[in-house]
């Protein structure tokens, strides 16, 4: 099987390498990809959309419909992870730690519980105390990562960035919290319910902006029709519409990244795990 695979790979690679002779040289300004549509985007995007970042202009305006469904794909991936893995069965054993002494109590009987408070804390079977250095460094870093994520989303029109990138950065800051402390800390701060609502809300914002444009008498996602609703220079209305759409994308991507992480590392039980 390995030999057969190697032969197939060599054959396919050989054919592809043979085919590169017909492809344009690297960095050739006259390559077919750069001759037709892209020149039109580069030359007219600024006067048509008032957004200097062409990637955002093409992503959220010219190809806005496509990006809407990409966001829906990300949402569906989060939903699929949830449906595949989430396990609502109650735990059999309970572990409690007496905070002042560090003694761990193990309850095998499911009906008996301790009230979790200052004296006792709920914990996992494979609990190890987090390292102080890691905890402190992450606690200092996480707010800056989140501010940076918001900056990336908000400046998507003018500098490299946008909803997808900012959402991933924000989601990874939450994942860092789960890694450095434990999963329960994250779930306590950002509950599963909030994450699910946020994931759906992002798609809803995107579709909603499109639908409002349609209600105002334009085409779906025609941001220029939003001008009567927002008291701002009508020249920049498309940039504002794109910002709204990017915020929707960012919220969905952030929530879905965290949902996927939580479900995979804890096998859907949301308590133990990394």
């Amino acid at each position: 099987m390995k030999l057969l695979g190697f032969i197939i790979v060599c054959l396919v690679g050989g054919f592809l390498l043979y085919g590169t002779g017909e492809l344009p040289d690297w960095g050739d300004p006259q390559s077919p990809a750069s001759l037709h549509l892209s020149n039109d985007y580069i030359e007219h995007a600024v006067e048509e959309t008032q957004v200097p970042n062409l990637v955002t202009a093409v992503l959220a305006d010219y190809r806005g419909f496509d990006t809407m469904f990409e966001t829906a794909v990300v949402f569906c991936a989060g939903l699929a992870c949830f449906l595949l893995l989430r396990d609502f069965r109650p735990r059999k054993d309970h572990y409690y730690r007496h905070v002042p002494t560090g003694v761990v109590l193990h309850f095998k009987d499911n009906s008996k519980r301790l009230t979790v408070g200052k004296e006792f804390e709920d914990m996992d079977k494979e609990w190890v105390p987090s390292d102080t250095v890691i905890k402190t460094v992450c606690r200092m870093l996480i707010p800056f990562i989140q501010i940076y994520a918001l900056y990336v989303v908000a400046h998507g029109d003018f500098s490299p960035g946008g909803g997808f990138q900012g959402g991933v950065i924000f989601g990874s800051s939450l994942i860092l919290l789960a890694i450095s402390y434990n999963l329960k800390t994250l779930v306590k701060r950002v509950s599963e319910k909030v994450l699910s609502i946020l994931a759906a809300l992002g798609v809803l914002i995107y579709v909603g902006i499109g639908a409002i444009a349609m209600l105002m008498g334009g085409n779906f996602l025609d941001y220029s029709k939003l001008a009567p609703l927002i008291p701002i220079d009508p020249g920049h209305i498309r940039a504002i519409g794109m910002l709204g759409v990017e915020i929707g994308v960012g919220i969905t991507v952030m929530a879905v990244m965290v949902i996927i992480y939580i479900n995979i590392v804890s096998e859907g039980r949301h308590e133990e795990g990394l």
Binding site: M1, K2, L4, G5, F6, I8, V9, C10, V12, G13, L16, L17, T20, G21, L23, P24, D25, W26, G27, D28, P29, S31, A33, S34, S38, Y41, I42, E43, V46, E47, Q50, P52, N53, L54, V55, A57, V58, L59, R63, T67, E70, V73, V74, A77, A80, C81, L84, L85, P160, F164, G167, V168, V253, V256, M257, I260, Y261, N263, I264, E267
Partner: protein, 134 residues
């Protein structure tokens, strides 16, 4: 020989992407472990992303963000030459493709976790044996 080397130098981005893609394809075809197959799939996707981004490149072109866009307001600013900016379209396509690939990778990992919970293995031959036992 010199001609051949010149050909490689002029098109080395395609060589790189094909080599990466073949590494990914080999991992997907020949490896026995499902996680290794997934890693191969991710390498394959990365190769495609490299291919797309590299065809958007223009020598002496800069990133597709128009400078001084609001300097001459109302379209009276300097004329924008398409040759000065690299092609934004592949970047847009790959931007969404990267995030979607992460999301689909998450779904694939979730499926692997379910398979492991049920069969206690991720090796393909053992899985096939377990399935034929029933």
């Amino acid at each position: 020989m010199a001609d051949f080397l010149a050909l490689i130098v002029a098109k080395y981005n395609y060589w790189l992407y094909i080599i990466l893609m073949m590494i990914g394809l080999y991992a997907m075809v020949a490896k026995n472990n499902l996680i290794k197959k997934l890693v191969g799939m991710n390498i394959f996707q990365t190769a495609i992303i490299l291919f797309y981004v590299s065809i958007g490149y223009k020598t002496e072109g800069t990133i597709p963000i128009i400078q001084n866009a609001h300097g001459g307001h109302g379209g009276h600013g300097a004329i924008i030459h398409a040759a000065d900016y690299i092609n934004p379209l592949p970047h847009v396509l790959m931007l969404t493709a990267i995030v979607v690939s992460v999301a689909t990778f998450g779904v694939a990992m979730a499926l692997c976790v379910r398979i492991y919970q049920r069969y206690q293995t991720l090796e393909e031959d053992e899985l096939r044996m377990r399935l034929s036992e029933k």
